[in-house]
Amino acid sequence: MGDNKTLPAAVKRWDENTVAKTIGKFPEREETFLTISGVPVNRLYTPLDSKDLDYEKDLGFPGEYPFTRGIQPTGYRGRLWTMRQYSGFATAKESNERFHFLLDQGQTGLSVAFDLPTQIGYDSDHPLALGEVGKVGVAIDSLADMEILFDNIPLDKVSTSMTINADAVVLLAMYIAVAEKQGVSMDKLRGTIQGDILKEYVARGTYIFPLSPSMRLITDTFKFCSEKMPLWNTISISGYHIREAGSTATQEVAFTLANGIAYVQAAIDVGLDVDAFASRLSFFFGSHSDFLEEICKFRAARRLWARIMRERFKAKKDSSCRMRFHTQTAGCTLTAQQPDNNIVRVTLQALQAVLGGTQSLHTNSRDEALSLPTEESVQIALRTQQIIGHESGVGDTVDPLAGSYYIESLTNEIENKAMEYIQKIDGMGGAPAAIENGYIQREIHEAAYSFQKSVDSNERVVVGVNKFQVDEEQKFDYLRVNPESELEQIEQLNNLRKSRDDDKVQTALHDLRLGAEGETNLVPLIIEAVKVYATLGEICGVLRDVFGEYKATDL
């Protein structure tokens, strides 16, 4: 980019004369400036900082390899990003009512949050489910709940995103079964299961089985879907939770892509052709609070993934190299103090994600550091996206920050540092091994701890928390989950256990056990089991028996 031969001398002159003079009179605010991830920030960037950049090779054009400038040739000029707000309600019935409301408003994308017992494969009456039923999402014990959840919702017309991981295959099976009852065949189903188990061990904690059987469930799903569900996104490889757990931006890219590599490799190892499934992979990142660094992060992640797919996995199709991602503004940056300030934080974070070229976006609500968001807060969050999309004009040209000396330099740096991490992880035997020996968890914890220390010592300002505090009483309307709903859910479960055909359930579970002990694809067996109303807890119970349970080893 920079071929200016006199520039180095000019920069030196500016530094030694102009800058030195000013600093003599007005010292800078800090001795060294660091991004929130701890990357040093220079005073000034010039063409010298990206002089090795080859435009066609490293940036290219939107919609073309290596996708640094985005995956859509026309950016947001054709269509804005999808504004997708994740939400959770206690019971299937309440969620269903909400879905109908959203569909009436013209929304076509549904997003389902499940409660923790559902995510960890326990029925609502399991001792560990106490107090958790319906708390962070809807409780699903069996197909009966799923039927209520999607009652009268035409599954051939909507796309459904399900935040479910360890037992994603069971919820997918239930979704398929509900569709079948509606007369919708599975090849018409559109949607996403998160299904990213590796980051559960690292950051989010809703794991069930050890790594190797978990990877099997994922490759079984990849295989099944590549044959029968061409429109289904089989995985959403998530950096969001890694970032929320305290990683830096570079670590977020590195560990997410390392996980992605593990999934692709696992699928190839079971005989899948990389171009048969890679275009169905999707990603999910956080948008944290360092404005420019985050924009670079998105661009670096996209380019690095494209290169990994082409160079490492020899993907032929461009669509296999194209990183599609969803973004959520960073929940961990929300403060309980002066919660209205969070609206501003979310606005900046949303803008970063758009400037970074996200495909869809969830904006957090101001009160999420305190509790589940109220309807009013959710609306402000959505309006934030709409203002960016329709008023700010940032979507009217593609990748508008490209070519900025700083942006390109930092994009390079994040890509290079992430690649170093990935090589280190490769050296340990890949992401699963690096997770089992606790390396990734430790790296994240170190970053989280040093960040917290820098806040506590006032090295890093968090407005309203360690500077500009006010005396305030935190008064908010909370969305509360009715404690009765836990009991109702358990009662329904008991009724189901009495009314279903137990012989069929036992047979299906027995078949599943044999399948799990062998090597057959488990997806069809799980579909059979959910159809006869085996519960989630029973199905996962069989798999727990055969596979064992993952035991965390980190700290």
């Binding site: 050890p210 020996n437 606790g438 064992g548 035991k551 965390a552 080893t553 980190d554 700290l555």
Partner: protein
């Protein structure tokens, strides 16, 4: 809580009293020694198994699986996990329980985490007293788990009847550590994580090293493969542990070890008592401080002063 209550509580197998006693031991409270002296005659029944090895070699997971196997054989279990305290802050992060969750509600399993702290009497003192407390409480099998990174594990294994040294495949450098320090103390070698590449190679390496040991061995330490995740090799390991105890009994080594241990312990205790008493008596004494200054100035020599101070403060009845 009086000493008698404490002693009775431990003998009646009340967990809270055991927990309390170990806290007193850790805090080097004088009451701990009084309680232990009453409990001494009730000890010596448990089979004490030391487990040591490099960090990351799966010690806690192994102990967890061994516990499950011993429970199947109707044994009751005590587990003492020792982790290093920070030499700077004295704090410690004790995370071994994370891997022992499957026994967390078993009434017949007692787990206690200990930091190495900066004990006056050394690590061995507090750990062996804690083990003794668990022994008096009546546990059949008592595991002592320590990180094998230095001298500490060598001290701790003095307590144990059977010492298991763990290692994992592929850890090339650690073999040096084993050579250097803990090769001699192992009664059983365990190569854990047998599913990892290089497990068999590791077994061969350790066997080769054992073979060059020149001294006559009545007990040739077996080298076993285990997988603490799946439980593979665990029943065999338990069989070997029990066989080792039989060997100790049959060969008379158990008695011999017991005598040696009593001798060591008595010496250790006397040394500890004397050191403690001396430091208490010297604490803040002007002549002590003065002597230090004189030594520093080369006006006096430490050899003579040491003799004088000991004679004056420790053996003089008038003080």
């Amino acid at each position: 809580m009086s000493i008698d209550e404490l002693v009775q509580g431990v003998l009646n197998q009340k967990r809270r009293y055991l927990a309390r006693l170990i806290s007193l031991i850790e805090d080097e409270d004088i009451q701990a020694m009084e309680a232990l002296s009453q409990l001494y005659k009730h000890t010596g029944k448990g089979h004490i198994i030391g487990v040591t090895g490099p960090p990351g070699s799966g010690k806690s997971s192994l102990v967890t699986k061994l516990t499950a196997e011993f429970r199947k054989r109707s044994k009751t279990i005590g587990i003492i996990c020792v982790d290093p305290s920070s030499p700077f802050t004295g704090g410690a992060l004790l995370g071994d329980r994370i891997r022992m969750q499957e026994h967390s509600l078993d009434d017949e399993v007692y787990v206690r985490s200990m930091g190495t702290r900066g004990h006056l009497g050394g690590l061995a003192r507090a750990t062996s007293d804690a083990v003794r407390a668990v022994d008096a409480f009546g546990k059949d099998i008592i595991f002592v788990e320590t990180v094998g990174t230095g001298q500490s594990e060598v001290e701790v294994v003095d307590v144990a009847h059977t010492v298991i040294v763990t290692d994992v495949p592929g850890s090339g450098d650690d073999i040096q550590a084993i050579k250097a320090g803990i090769m001699e103390i192992a009664d059983i070698f365990v190569v854990n994580k047998s599913d990892l590449a290089g497990a068999d190679k590791k077994v061969t390496e350790i066997n080769a090293m054992l073979d060059i040991d020149p001294k006559e061995q009545a007990w040739r330490p077996p080298v076993l493969l285990t997988n603490a995740r799946t439980g593979e090799g665990i029943p065999e390991l338990v069989d070997n542990i029990l066989a080792h105890l039989e060997h100790l009994k049959g060969s008379g080594l158990l008695q011999k070890k017991g005598l040696q241990r009593s001798r060591d312990e008595l010496q250790e205790l006397m040394k500890y008592k004397l050191t403690k008493e001396l430091s208490q008596k010297l604490q803040g004494k002007p002549e002590y401080e003065k002597a230090i200054k004189m030594i520093a100035k080369r006006k006096q020599d430490p050899y003579t002063v040491a003799e004088q101070l000991i004679a004056e403060f420790l053996f003089s009845e008038t003080r």
